[in-house]
Symmetry: C2
Amino acid sequence: MVTIRDVAKAAGVSLTTVSRAYNPKAVIRASTRERILAIAEELGYVPNLSARSLVTNQKFVLGVFFSNLRSGTPETFLSTVINSVYEVLPDDYLLSVNDIAHLTNFEARVQMRMAGVLVVSQSPADDAFIQRLAKAQIPTVVINRDLGEPNSYNVCSDDRLGVYQAMAYLAKAGHQRVGMIAGLPGYTSAQQRRQGFDDGVRDYGLTRVAEAMRPGDYSVQAGREQMTAILQLPAATRPSAVLCADDDTAVGALRACYQAGVSVPEEMSVVGFDDSIYAAMSVPALTTVKKPIVQMATAGITKLLALIAGENDAVVHKDVIAPSLIVRESIADRHK
Amino acid sequence: MVTIRDVAKAAGVSLTTVSRAYNPKAVIRASTRERILAIAEELGYVPNLSARSLVTNQKFVLGVFFSNLRSGTPETFLSTVINSVYEVLPDDYLLSVNDIAHLTNFEARVQMRMAGVLVVSQSPADDAFIQRLAKAQIPTVVINRDLGEPNSYNVCSDDRLGVYQAMAYLAKAGHQRVGMIAGLPGYTSAQQRRQGFDDGVRDYGLTRVAEAMRPGDYSVQAGREQMTAILQLPAATRPSAVLCADDDTAVGALRACYQAGVSVPEEMSVVGFDDSIYAAMSVPALTTVKKPIVQMATAGITKLLALIAGENDAVVHKDVIAPSLIVRESIADRHK
DNA sequence: CTGAAAGCGCTAACAA
DNA sequence: TTGTTAGCGCTTTCAG
């Protein structure tokens, strides 16, 4: 293994000078640095991060935590977030992917070794973990869920607005009677989406069909069951469109329609939320509100890196990103 | 920060003894070890891995590499593999998720810091990377692709057998005329699946419909286009079932049927491969061959840990795991 | 079974 | 702008 000594010897300088060559803010003559770096390169020298960590206490791992990898994590999240992180990850950092629900050995794995943590949070169940990070003074940014906590760093999407846009589209497409299959009770996202629905109904003068306002839990099963219930209503009193709290729910709803012989979108329009990978694949392809995962992840990781760099004052505590409507095939144009 | 010194002082022993308490194979009186561990626990001592690494040269990061996270990685892989790894990951290891196609700084990130690497390989494009790992002497296990290289450690699935089982099922369900939309030319998996198809046709006396033997590339688009082409055939000469090289292809095929007004499975049966997350969600739900990802990942990581532990002789170079058929709704029973 | 001492590769004062 | 020196926290000989 070639060490800093070897480079120093080869370059005819001291260890310190070599060390300085690798520290961007060290005082060193530019020509010296270049010469050293060239020689180091040639020798195949790679700085030993363990040694550096030992003395500087710096860490070179960025942790990304998901609420629960075994179930419930929209799969799209994983690859999207990981990709976004790599987009801006410094060259000597490693990216570690973890699962909050099944984490063991917080001290050794997180506290001792992670320079910062990006939490992709799905539910309040993560709060204990988030607080633990705060207590351990680990730079942390939480994305995907509105924490409603002014001291933390948080990036989330404006779900209310997203649904509101969908409602606008529905109204413009000539829909009048609408229903909704809700999200998990207690979840901020569920409340916000419901709010967007209610605001849309109000502002666009739509009719909320009481029997078609159904509970849900962000699952395919719920989507199927609740849509099946909605389809029991006589066609005349049924809503012409149902807003589903997320794409899983919508996929379930689509299945219910299929099984009931109700064609989508001709007899029933369905809207989702997330733009999960199912959305484009479903039959018919799902019109849905695209959650801005890429933007959240990018903004989050950028914040995080700034925090790690100690630029806390320059970092805004909260970003709210607007989702966008992705129009596919599951909403009928009733004007035709 | 509480260090080994603090523990030593509190326990009235030397640094060395504390160190030994943490090394399972060190010679130390059991009672001493217990006492020290208890005191350490109480003080909140956590061994500093940087320091340990510095002297022992051990690494405490396990790398998992995917061919390409930005596109083409079946999303199911990610969470499944990560979960399987955590199932057996030692408590002080970190799991780092990486992308072969976009990896930078191999030396600092991989060579210097990873104790071992699990490669989830999709294509021969990964070979250069795999060779680099070998050159750097990093314990490596490749899963998901048959490397056909006796010196490496490799876990893959018997795709031929999987398809063969599907063919058996098709034959038993009364299908006679069959077609196939193939995988990416040049890929081992594509060849193996084709082989399974051919073997099935031969052994079960089926009829291969020449016009329904189509090229493909493991994409939804290809599935749609090729199935559309197949559906041009007059119903009488069409196959009653089409085997798709993977689930993406099958989902595309399903869409083509939907758009052509051909009902699945009544008028056309479709089989996939992988058991991706789409499979259960599609309409109708896809009957498919389940790739044994969990088993491959578990076997792979177990092998890898053994290699890291230096037990090379005890590790079998190659495992081949049998896939299983998952019966859902996309194959018709023609006996009815 | 336990302790003393040396040193892993690097950075950070402090001098020069 | 560069070099000298003293550790960072730990493991590992080698004695005892």
